[in-house]
Point group: C2
């Protein structure tokens, strides 16, 4: 009938339902491996309602996912049949009961149709908004199926072995493997690496295929597929499943190594963009709040479409009451709060924040009620204090890093409360918290924050100091000292790509671009040299064995979203594009003019984008968004919308090291 009608559901339940489905897909040696944490369930009995004022009689039909009942001013009607409705004020109620799926309703008619303007009553909480998606706009659409796109992909090379045939798809993918004309029980072993696929004992993902004219296997992460048996299928191909999003951002340069790193970073992010951002496509294939937080940072450089960010935040929030931290990790609850603020800052979309505000506040309250006598994040029963995997970090007692993260999360909540016009009484006193953190953790003599005060060891690791810089916790002088003594000093090196990303972002923020890209080339470039087609969960350049992890020979994820950091670093710190006010109403471009001779970078901003083109000493900026300022050599230039701005860089500046700026 009309595309304005959309399937509607209790706000958040779509994400809760698909989140369970997503977390059921991981397998290890053929055995299912669902999430270690609690998953939530949808409300099984909900009412959708809207009041219409009809000037003339109208007709509409209701469809439901689950058992349905329609009421027009309390008069009962069945679903699936056209309802003729007289003129006047009409309250239209659709009740849906479904203990086996996602209760949802679809109302289609000229005047009466379902969309975001309806309300939902779950009969527990006060009346709330509904969720919907433009992907579900027909009666036949199934809200329990996620609208991925499919693309046929071909085998790149085929290699016969004594026991079967190894099919190489050329690069990491996430696809349904299709085998035609299987005549016998066939074992298939998947591999993110060649070694893994050929190792029939330890390949992480595997499947037994029964004889069939066409076998379409479960969707899996792989580059290689080893099909055992003499009777090989007559055809082997993949159906690549992906989330269609319009990519706006991009980067290219005359430095092929950087280009390759950038491309693989983009690919890695795209592969991990599923219903929600997951950590890695083979493993864990789970939604982790810390990993997602980094994915969002990178996502913002590429996509104006932020549906996946909203979905991921909503899925991670799940269903209150909160009895454990998000992913059971204290830090991850706080990252989720910061993510919600970042989403608002990037998009300017207060409406979304309003929809999740009650949940966000409940999560915040849960965090606050578990603070210790100093008002610090501490380990309570069932908590996991993560910070980072590190052999040197002193994790005895409340760690400094989490207190700075708490301060940041509190600041985010404050800003959101102001935006939503909520009262501020529920918030912690951020200044008092900051004072307490300085009192307990700041070592004035050494100019840095110690890991923790409980053990008395007064160790100085990077993590909390990275946060201090990244979150603007310290003043300019303090920041400078931290950068000197810790970030560019001899504090123990960070060993996880997770915190390395934060560290590089902090360095980038302080203008240490050369140091950042030195590391990017050494680290990510190292993976490229080893043949990576997506970035790994972990990479230690000093080792020769790269696939084992968590006690599994091929346990390491070779496609991990936090490996996509270079995308963020190139666009934010090489091209220097950054939003400076909510929704990109203003933004700055501070391109790095030394190091890389020629490059072009584009980032979505507000409803448009801005592109920076550096060609030797010339910088061209072209924007489809107003509000931009180009900053070069301390000078500021207005970027006018749809009008090219060209600035020549002085020779002096070109020769100066960025890091001395």
């Amino acid at each position: 009938m009309t595309k304005k009608a959309k399937w509607i559901w209790r706000y958040g339940d779509y994400e809760i339902f698909h989140n369970v489905l997503l977390h059921m897909r991981r397998k290890r040696y053929g055995v299912p491996y669902p999430a270690l944490w609690a998953l939530d369930s949808v409300e099984p009995n909900v009412l959708f309602t809207k009041k219409f004022v009809l000037e003339e009689p109208t007709k509409f039909t209701v469809f439901t996912n689950g058992l349905g009942q329609v009421r027009v001013n309390r008069q009962l009607y069945p679903v699936g049949e056209e309802i003729v409705c007289s003129a006047g004020e009409k309250v239209i109620d659709v009740l849906v009961t479904n203990p086996r799926g996602l209760p949802a309703a679809f109302v289609v008619g000229e005047k009466v149709f379902s969309d975001e303007s309806w309300f939902c009553d779950d009969k527990k909480a006060p009346m709330d908004c509904v969720g919907c998606s433009p992907a579900y706009y027909r009666a036949a659409d199934n809200v329990e199926e996620f609208p991925f796109a499919l693309k046929k992909i071909s085998v790149f090379t085929k290699e016969e072995t004594a026991g079967g045939c190894l099919y190489d798809f050329g690069k990491e993918t996430y696809a349904f493997l299709v085998l035609e004309n299987i005549t016998e029980h066939t074992q298939v072993y998947f591999g993110e690496s060649r070694e893994e696929a050929l190792d029939t004992q330890y390949a992480y993902l595997r499947e037994t295929v029964l004889p069939a004219a066409k076998a379409r296997l479960e969707k899996r992460a792989f580059r290689f597929a080893y099909v055992c048996g003499k009777q090989q299928p007559t055809a082997v191909y993949g159906e690549y499943e992906y989330l269609p999003m319009e990519k706006i951002g991009g980067f290219s340069s005359d430095d092929e190594e950087l280009n390759t790193i950038y491309q693989i970073g983009e690919r890695t992010l795209e592969l991990c963009a599923r219903e929600f951002y997951i950590d890695g496509i083979k493993r864990d294939h789970w939604v982790w709040s810390g990993d997602a937080y980094q994915a969002f940072m990178i996502h913002n450089c590429l996509f104006a479409d932020r549906e996946i960010v909203k979905r991921t935040i909503t899925a991670l929030l799940g269903k209150p009451p909160y009895r454990r931290h998000v992913n059971t990790i204290n830090d991850y609850s706080l990252y989720l709060i910061v993510s919600a603020y970042d989403y608002y800052f990037q998009s300017g979309d207060a409406e979304f924040v309003r929809k999740i505000w009650a949940r966000l506040k409940e999560l915040y309250a849960f965090c606050v009620e578990r603070l210790d006598e100093n008002g610090f994040v501490c380990k309570r029963q069932g908590d996991w204090i993560f910070v980072d995997w590190s052999n040197t970090l002193d994790k005895d007692g409340p760690p400094c890093a989490l207190q700075i993260l708490l301060w940041k999360a509190n600041k985010c909540m404050r800003e959101l409360a102001v935006v939503l016009g909520d009262r501020l009484e529920f918030l912690l006193d951020g200044d008092a918290l900051k004072e307490k953190i300085f009192e307990k953790y700041y070592d004035g003599e050494r100019g840095a924050f110690i890991d923790g005060f409980t053990s008395g060891k007064r160790m100085i690791n990077r993590q909390q100091n990275v946060f201090a810089v990244l979150y603007g916790f310290t003043n300019e002088a303090q920041t400078r000292r931290i950068v000197e003594t810790v970030l560019c000093g001899d504090a123990p090196a960070i060993t996880t790509p997770f915190f390395k990303f934060f560290e590089l972002a902090a360095l980038g923020k302080c203008g240490k671009t050369e140091r950042v890209f030195e590391f990017v080339k050494a680290y990510w470039g190292g993976m490229v040299k080893l043949g990576a087609t997506s970035f790994w969960e972990e990479y230690d350049p000093t080792k020769t064995e790269h696939y084992a992890m968590y006690g599994d020979k091929y346990g390491k994820s070779l496609c991990h979203v936090w490996g996509s950091g270079p995308v963020y670093l190139m666009i934010n710190y090489l091209a220097g594009i950054q939003i400076t006010s909510v929704g990109g109403a203003t933004y700055e471009v501070k391109p790095c003019v030394n190091g890389v001779k020629d490059y072009t970078a584009r980032m979505p901003v507000s409803n448009g984008w801005v592109e920076v083109e550096k060609r030797g000493a010339r910088v061209n900026v072209y924007a489809m968004s107003a509000g931009g300022t180009l900053i070069l050599d301390g000078k500021r230039y207005l970027i006018e919308k749809e009008k090219q701005l060209t600035v020549e860089v002085t020779g002096e500046m070109l020769e100066r090291s960025t890091d001395e700026n």
Copy 2:
């Protein structure tokens, strides 16, 4: 393999899941009519665990309802395959993920098998117990199907009409109607009455049947089925679906009218005994806490098997946190607490109370946190203060009846807390509450409690005075005055069978047996005279029309559990059998010796039963339970187990009116 293994689930989730299924069955004119209140959903990701110390290697197999994973000391195994397990200490974990049903596990083996000794971790609350039922003990058993029994029932009479054929099954039933050889689209109209079935416009339940060799319709409440069309099925019969329970209690006498009332009462209760006790089988076909509370009282007279009582309490408790009252009604939350105590008092089963204790306390806390400044139950947002349907009751402000019910519920919680060894700090001060109730509601001059104090009208209705007597709220003298001035006085008559049952129980408790059975015969006997084969939701002897209710021509339920009251009254007050301490460790038999010449009554007590046989002036008591005392004419006789006790009643006593005792 072995019957000791049982399917296990997260404690309470079986009831939560089946509760949704049950509430999806009601229809009205073909349109589904699910419960008006919130229904709960099960936890979709749960872990079942138990530690075994194995002296020798053993084998076992795991089956799951949902996606499953097995871990033996963290080593992964798939479900459905035999696992060989070495000797030693083994923690066996079974993870089940299921967003579309009831997560459950079945572990079967010689030494390792699932039963009530396992634990469940839903990863939110602390580790908790599991639920199981002897009905599910094979791998093939489906925990999502309720184990009802079926019995073929035949048409009693068949009556041809111009438009079709009316099939009368002789009495109210709940069955799948089966029609053989349907050759055309056929409309079937059900009726609890003949009039309803023949009224194709207003019959509440109806179904369209497509041509089929054998059509088995949805299970429905009916006595009559009107099958329209010229091509009648070649055979019509029913499959009566019922809950198999061993009936121990019973009553018969030389008074045929009483016998008929008793039999119909039993039948009514049995028809309403589904997965849980429902209010009525046609309508609402819902689980209401107040109705269930009365059903439990009656149930205890007949059945030693109290599984349905536990299931109903568990289903009504649902899943915390509580944001609305049970069935949205303040009174109904309180009845549920009283029901839990009554269950314990009748059965002595503290284990069950321990399992629901956390939920019960949370529900109690929810009730308490909503009290007003006097500490009284009052109407808060979303509340429904029911008390009773009455035109005379002054419902302005907090009603007295609910404060006495609160006092009773508080007393029940206190006694349960003592049994479970819980601290008592969370409880209200019952004495202070009583004092406040007396201060605000007791009219010393009139010797009764007023309805409420808000309006200033100082009305005296029966409801709160019935509770004062029934719950032993008043002392002997106060009780006597209430009975005189209110219960046997001219306070407005109660008009609902719901509160009439409480009133008759209160009168029975005070020995007013004659008055009780006068009413039983007039009221229930009236329904019998009108041809009732089960007792009705409501009956007004002064009216000639009995089927309409709630604006529907056949809206009244003609099979309503609260109509079964006479069963309770006959066994508790005519035969006078009553438990006097927890679990029936002691009990009394105070048979009424005047009024009915001969009768026999039996009631389950503890692990056995007691039977009272009155034949004229002789009373025989035979018990399969120790702890009994026969009380006749103020004298006490020890009832020895398995030994008949005979006492002759004096002529004087036989002639005296019971109500003067």
